[in-house]
Amino acid sequence: MIYPGSKTILEVRGLCASVSGTEILKGLDLTVKSGEVHAIMGPNGSGKSTFSKVLAGHSAYQVTAGSVLLEGKNLLDLPPEERARAGVFLAFQYPIEIPGVANSQFLRLTYNTVQTQRGKEELDPLEFDDFVREKMKLLEMSPDFLDRSVNEGFSGGEKKRNEILQMALLEPRLAILDETDSGLDIDALRIVSQGVNKLANKDNAMVLVTHYQRLLNYIVPDFVHVMDDGRIVKTGGKELALELEARGYDWVGAKHRGAAPKVVAKVAA
């Protein structure tokens, strides 16, 4: 929701980033204020996930120009963990499986680490267990997922819910949800959206990367951006998403860039 006089959470100016020598982001501008929900749409390969990972601080991407400020602080100077502690949260398009690490242990450790950094109290395992179960109810997640390894063997939709659960625990200032809706069935889409809506308030902001209007029926965006070839090429209100759904990307000048093979970076350990 747009609140008059709200402060700027994210300010991206002329951001250029490349991966293994190839420039992907080519001068991206975006301003997000507290309370707002932004949607970023755009053809496959236009750089949406790259942008998300650059914000989260993935070391494979080199920022070659531009600036990113989070609440006035230079985000690009910080390692990923400090960005997370400062309030950046990325729900991954492809959440990683971590065999051998119990989800409960992972969630507690990340929660307590971030709490401590924010000068708050840690929770002991029992307190945390109560706390996390409450949050799981919100997402209609079975507590069984606490005992399993992080994302291991989770279905696509279960992984996405686990991402939102982490977001609910970490209470970010800026949440970037990269295609959280893809892979969700109709009920799950509603549940996850309701969860996200509960978490959205006037002090935080959401950036939703999505290909589909249906998510935006549940989480109504204040702004819709079209990304193409590493830039935001068009910005509008929620009606822009409907128009894109009806007319595709060609009319905004965005091109489909062929179906380049998609590689999920995952090196066998």
Binding site: I98, V101, T113, L170, A268
Partner: protein, 431 residues
């Protein structure tokens, strides 16, 4: 075997010095066995990198040091060893520098199992001792046998299931001492037992543990064998374990190697018809440690099933070795064998030599094996960092998880927790 070189002769002679002082046993067969072993020590040599079985494992450091048999036994108090207790184990046999310590031990007489010091062993002993862990061509097994005195003898009678684990605790307390732990477990048909073989130290200087374990499973017996090698940082640990499985018996083992400057574990598993085994291992080493595991699973008869997962976590400039031999003899049809070796190298200087060795002489079998060697997955590290964990905390967590897969297979909760804590501390200190 090549001729005995002066260096190794001196070395073996020095190790053997004191053997003659060993009081003769009232058991004639034991004296005969010792004498046969002494004779083999006289013929054999200490292995070097030129021996196929030792080509990655440089033990010259061991041969440069001199060790002597125990002269004066130390009198430990119960409080000294309390921290090694395993809550679930009703029976605990404690050996201090190889010598049985009855005052520290506890034998649960209600368990239905016969547990005693080998030195008091009877006829059952004679039929098996030294018959499974062969010392004819193995100088370390021969040395151990030459010094045979105390040891753990466990006989599980027919169809008896022992409810609680039996804990064998071998404690090294004195520098420069060579000790010779020995264990014989006889699981009679249809019986079931869990054995914990645990090597610890109360001192940080150099010493030498040379252990031999023999485990004999009669038809349909079940043995869970947990082996924890947590020797002192300057200790040397060489162990031979021979397991003999009769028809449809089942042997499950998890061995964890954490300690010692240099360690070598040879595990030999003989499989009869329809026998099953799971042989898992974890070596977690750092600094300049060397940990070598050599296993041989010998499918001699049809319908055997073997599973093996061996993991190494190697930090510092440590060196891990794994050689996993799977033998499927002619006639061992329908053998089903899986082996996997996975290694995590934490530094650029860490080193692994891993070698599967399949020797298959039967045609209708299912045998798979695989080996991976890698570093931590950078995407996994990033994922954890993006949730606020430092690079170090993320790496710790992933390293720990890698090892936990093996530790989780230990069927004793308190020991599992103890080891998980150790792994956590050890990984935290290296990164």
């Amino acid at each position: 075997m090549s001729a005995v070189t002066p260096v190794t002769a001196t070395y073996l002679e020095s190790l053997l010095a004191g053997q003659a002082q060993l009081a003769a046993s009232p058991l004639a067969w034991l004296n005969t066995l010792r004498a046969a072993a002494v004779e083999r020590v006289g013929v054999l040599t200490v292995p070097t990198l030129r021996d196929e079985d030792w080509r990655f494992t440089d033990i010259s450091l061991l041969t440069k040091m001199s060790f002597h048999p125990l002269r004066t036994a130390i009198n430990l108090q119960a409080a000294d060893i309390e921290r090694f207790h395993i809550a679930e184990a009703a029976t605990r046999l404690v050996f201090v520098d190889g010598v049985f310590a009855p005052q520290l031990s506890n034998i649960d007489i209600n368990s239905g199992v016969l547990v005693s010091n080998l030195a008091a062993g009877g006829a059952a002993c004679a039929a098996h001792l030294g018959r499974h862990a062969e010392f004819h061509n193995n100088v370390f097994a021969a040395l151990n046998t030459a010094f045979l005195h105390d040891g753990a003898l466990i006989v599980v009678p027919r169809n008896i299931s022992v409810a609680t684990p039996i804990h064998l605790l071998f404690i090294a307390t004195q520098k420069d001492v060579a000790s010779y732990p020995r264990c014989l477990l006889l699981a009679e048909s249809g019986s079931a037992v869990t054995l914990i073989e645990d090597y610890v130290a109360l001192q940080e200087e150099a010493y030498f543990t040379n252990a031999v374990t023999e485990i004999v499973l009669a038809d349909s017996a079940r043995v869970n064998h947990v082996r924890v090698q947590r020797e002192g940082a300057q200790g040397f640990h060489i162990a031979n374990c021979a397991v003999s499985l009769a028809r449809t018996s089942n042997y499950q083992s998890v061995s964890v190697a954490l300690g010692a400057r240099i360690s070598r574990y040879n595990l030999n598993v003989q499989m009869a018809e329809g026998a099953e085994c799971a042989v898992d291992g974890l070596a977690l080493i750092s600094e300049r440690q060397l940990a070598d595991t050599h296993t041989c699973i010998d499918h001699a008869q049809p319908h055997g099933v073997s599973r093996q997962l061996h993991k190494c976590i190697v930090g510092g400039s440590a060196h891990a070795v794994f050689n996993g031999k799977i033998m499927v003899r002619q006639g061992a049809q329908h053998t089903d064998s899986q082996q996997s070796s996975r290694t995590l190298l934490l530094t650029g200087r860490a080193q692994i030599d891993t070698k599967p060795q399949l020797e298959i002489f039967a045609d209708d079998v299912k045998c798979t094996h695989g080996a991976t060697v890698g570093q931590l997955d950078s995407e996994e590290v990033f994922y954890l960092q993006s949730r606020g964990l430092s690079d170090t905390a993320a790496r710790n967590m992933l390293t720990y998880a890698f090892g936990a897969e093996i530790i989780d297979r230990i069927p004793i909760t308190s020991l599992k927790q103890q080891l998980e804590q150790t792994v956590l501390e050890q990984t935290a200190s290296q990164l």
